[in-house]
């Protein structure tokens, strides 16, 4: 069976695309899939750092697309997680070195090799975005609970629909205390505007910064709430569609769990 290409995108920068790509990719591999995560942010390479694979780069995605090397030469195998591969971006080129036709050709080979191919898209809706979505069949749109991020996510959703790619949403960096006080948009507020399928909700978590700086996959940290949220997202993508979406909360007391079960709104 052919693999699935999922693009991770957002419109707005810095909302967690790279974090999500690395985490979901790692989690899908932990579920037993052959996974490639591809850094499409040409010129602003990040994914290798987040995964701690920076020092093993020889070839990159530009080399693959422009046939300077074989796919197997550019795919870096992760030593901690079996079946997880990274194809890094080139740091020296700019977005114009890739063409959509070139990416599509590479995508055909990738689909034969892997079960899941996650494309970490650059911010914006220009050339780099076009290259990232050209061969994708699904999209995950990352947004944070703020008005400008929602606006940009909405724009991107429109562009994806125009290409018949059905997007799902991840709301990242939720701070439950702020939501409770009304200082941050709730995920309901966000979904009211975006109204597409919700893939999951990820809380603000300092473990993300720690894991990123150490180059450790977040999803292997059992004490990371964000990591666990990404694991659940991966499970749902991988077919466990019944797995309920957990709403991040700040209290973990008995009462809170109970009230959620009873369907109260906090």
């Amino acid at each position: 069976m052919e693999g699935k290409i999922i693009v991770v995108t957002s419109g707005k920068g810095g909302v967690g695309k790279t974090t999500a790509t690395a985490s979901i990719g790692a989690a899908l591999a932990l579920e037993g899939n052959r996974v490639a995560v591809i850094d499409m942010d040409i010129g602003l390479r990040n994914l290798d750092v987040v995964l701690g694979l920076e020092n093993r780069i020889v070839f990159n995605i530009v080399d693959v697309v422009n046939k300077r090397c074989k796919l197997t030469q550019a795919a870096i195998r992760d030593r901690r997680i079996e079946n997880l591969f990274l194809i890094p971006a080139s740091q020296s080129d700019n977005k114009d070195v890739l063409t959509t036709a070139g990416v599509e050709r590479a995508a055909k080979i990738l689909k034969k090799e892997f079960d899941y191919i996650l494309m970490d898209s650059p911010a914006g809706i220009e050339k780099g975005f076009e290259n990232s979505i050209v061969s994708a069949s699904e999209a995950i749109v990352i947004c944070t609970p703020d008005v400008s991020s929602v606006r940009d996510a909405d724009r991107v959703i429109g562009l994806l629909y125009a290409r018949s790619i059905t997007p799902k949403i991840i709301v990242n960096r939720i701070v439950p205390q702020m939501v409770a006080k009304g200082d941050m948009l709730s995920h309901e507020d966000v979904m009211e505007v975006l109204s597409v399928e919700l893939a999951g909700l990820v809380p603000m978590d300092e473990q993300v910064v720690i894991a990123t700086n150490m180059g450790m996959p977040l999803v292997m940290q059992n004490n990371s709430k964000a990591g666990q949220a990404f694991r659940r997202i991966a499970k749902r993508l991988n077919g466990e569609t019944d797995l309920p979406i957990q709403v991040p909360t700040h209290k973990t007391g008995m009462w809170n769990k109970l009230s959620q079960k009873l369907g109260f709104k906090k």
């Binding site: 909405d154 724009r155 505007v193 109204s195």
Partner: protein, 228 residues
Amino acid sequence: MTIEMQPPVKLKGVGDGFWVTLDPSVSEDKLKEEVTRLFERLKHLTINARITLDTGDARGCENLIANIGTFLKNTFDVGVVTTPPAKRSVPLERIRQRDLSKGWTQHRSEVLMLRGRVRSGQRIKAKKHIVIIGNVNPGAEISAGGNIIVMGRLMGQVHAGDPDNEEAVVLALDFRPTQIQIGGVVAAGIDENSDAVAEFASIDKGRIIVQDYLKAEPFGNIPWPEVI
């Protein structure tokens, strides 16, 4: 079946003259005959009398009226012959009768009707009216030569009556545009967190005002549906 027979010619005295109602579906000769019959009874009263020839709301009777007028002047020495002053109610009535009987099929109103969600960065433009069954997100732009109606939540930017029709309105079931323009008048959206009520914006004394649609009933006093 009963067919009500209306006399083809009716005569009524008005002030210094006579009001003659003619049935234009009857032949000219027959009308002349009837007119003669009635006018002969008036004897000398017809001389220099002011005559109004009324063919009801039928159209294209100019020839008939001219012929009968000349006939009356020559035969009965009448004075001025005129037709009834054009009354607004007469053609309106006719239009409504026609609307009723023909079921509006002959009317064309240019409306762009869409359903679904209009998203940020999407722009919708229409020559005349726009109806959107769905929501308009912040960052979306709608512009219409006529009215804009949103059967849902309006959160984007709208321009009704583009470029200069200040009669246009914007109506939404939940009215929260970021910016609104009617004709050449612009207003920023109001950011009040009120409940969803149907509201509409229109121009009043050069300013855009927003009112509760069901309370203000802007079109409630138009007694009959009309095509816009």
